[in-house]
Symmetry: C2
Subunit: 308 residues, 2 copies
């Protein structure tokens, strides 16, 4: 089933304790699309500048990604420069140059409009709504956001949240949005804003799902070294939505969501092993399936098999 | 099988965002013993002052805890005063009065010396070694420690670690002891110091087990409100060691350890629901078994059942 993603395509300059890379391919939609392309047909909506390398677009097409919705505008591509400290938990943004992103007005090509699955990456909530207006047949809409919109555009963000099925954010954002340190209370508060399903990402601590009366904890994969956390969240979302679109079940359910979160975690765990999208580009399906099984082993324990 | 614990018995004055309690029963050995008493025969070694309430000793005996090894010394009992902020992650120690603990010289009664399971709570590593000298037949020794000893008595702590089978510490301590932010690297480094099995507690993020080639992630129970985190680590250790002693299997193995960590997490999740030991005192075995099943539901997901 086709999956539309709207977000950014960018070039990043990244410094981590393990090295540095300038003008590396980045952007939320790029990471998402590369990741989801292992599972389903992805249709990409984004804006790029005149400097955007055709080879990078070609690499996406080689993964089966539909780039009809990628518009080239006059000016430079979105550029983000960031640095990670030794703990790799949070990026320190050194510079953001919006460039062509400042005028981004997402338009879905006609061939995208019947998409059943829609992912709105972290962009202006007004634009997220505009995309939903154009994809009225989507049966499942998930979105991401960030502290910038929670602090600066809360009313618009709430209008977006009223209309989405699944919100995927990190724990700091969840606490900020719900104004409480308790993740359980935050989940209740956020779900009352609209999304019936909530996924809270906790970096090296994994992710938590809230769906109906269920709570599910997904572990993070224990890596010796995280080389570059850039794009981990979007890669997670790509694996998550990709799995859901591939399975295309009639109704969203706990079993499917649990597997999808593990799949997101699998994809994110690969992504951080190398700079930029390097690891995703060389990744093979059998590696994905093997790591999924490793996640099972990571969290499995047996019942007590009797009373105390 | 009998389980000996050596640690502190104390009165705590605790302030959390939800209330305050003065001179509440506390201490690592007290929490451990109350928790482990649901699973096995616990033998307690500690020092108390003249002010220690006989009713508090009696309550332990009512749980089947052997208090022969509790020595009453002239002076006051150990007193700890602490405060927790809104995030409840770490206690801010306001005052520590060692009192009788300053002269603690743990002596195992003869009836304790053939104990098969031994837990050394967080005390001076020299004393931990002295206890091991007296329980030469113990087939399994686990211990805890804290930043105070890592910073101030590293050489002695290393002598303790050389002799224990299982180390149970929190993630900040693990990073400090191994001098690396990577939990996987820290685990390798710490296990090279002696303990073949390592458990790293991560508060609201659960716990991680390293044993042979296995890594296991236990989730934390999603509580709306943590009322008082005091003693959570010792209650965890009590459930963990209690389960292992109860099962009394021939050889430590991954299946047993995984269940034991979940049992520790179950007990800790109850403990933080009320002040001091209030929740443990009213706890029933059927509640423990029910929460163990909830942990299973929290982390279970199904295999993919096919290739990608």
């Amino acid at each position: 089933m086709s999956l539309v993603v709207v977000g950014t395509m960018a070039y990043d300059s990244i410094k981590t304790p393990f090295g540095q890379r300038d003008w590396a391919l980045g952007g939320s939609a790029t990471y998402f699309a590369h990741s989801a392309s292992f599972f389903t047909k992805v249709k990409l909506v984004a804006v790029i500048g005149e400097d955007f390398d055709d080879k990078d677009l070609g690499a996406l097409r080689d993964c089966g990604v539909d780039t009809q919705g990628v518009v080239r505008a006059p000016g430079k591509s979105f550029h983000w420069q960031g640095e990670y400290g030794f703990e790799l938990n949070e990026a320190n943004t050194l510079d953001t140059q919006l460039n062509v992103l400042a005028g981004f007005d997402p338009q879905l090509p006609d061939s995208y409009k019947d998409a059943e699955y829609l992912f709105l990456a972290n962009i202006d909530p007004k634009l997220q709504q505009k995309v939903m207006d154009q994809a009225a047949n989507a049966r499942l809409v998930a979105c991401d956001t960030m502290n910038f919109w929670i602090e600066g555009a809360l009313d618009e963000l709430k209008k977006t949240l009223e209309r989405v099925d699944i919100l995927i954010i990190n724990d700091g954002e969840a606490r900020m949005l719900a104004k409480t340190p308790s993740i359980v209370k935050a989940a209740r508060e956020i779900r009352s804003m609209g999304p019936s399903t909530l996924i809270i990402k906790r970096g090296e601590y994994g992710a938590v799902l809230f769906h109906e009366d269920e709570i599910f904890y997904a572990p993070a994969y224990p890596l010796e070294q995280v080389f570059d956390p850039t794009g981990a969240g979007d890669t997670f979302a790509g694996g998550f939505m990709g799995h859901i679109a591939r399975m295309n079940e009639e109704k969203l359910n706990g079993r499917l969501l649990r597997q999808a979160i593990i799949m997101g975690s699998v994809m994110a765990s690969f992504n951080v092993e190398k700079f930029s999208m390097d690891r995703l580009k060389e990744l093979e399906r059998k590696e994905i399936a093997a790591r999924f099984r490793q996640f099972k082993r990571l969290s499995h324990f047996e019942d007590l098999g009797g009373d105390l």
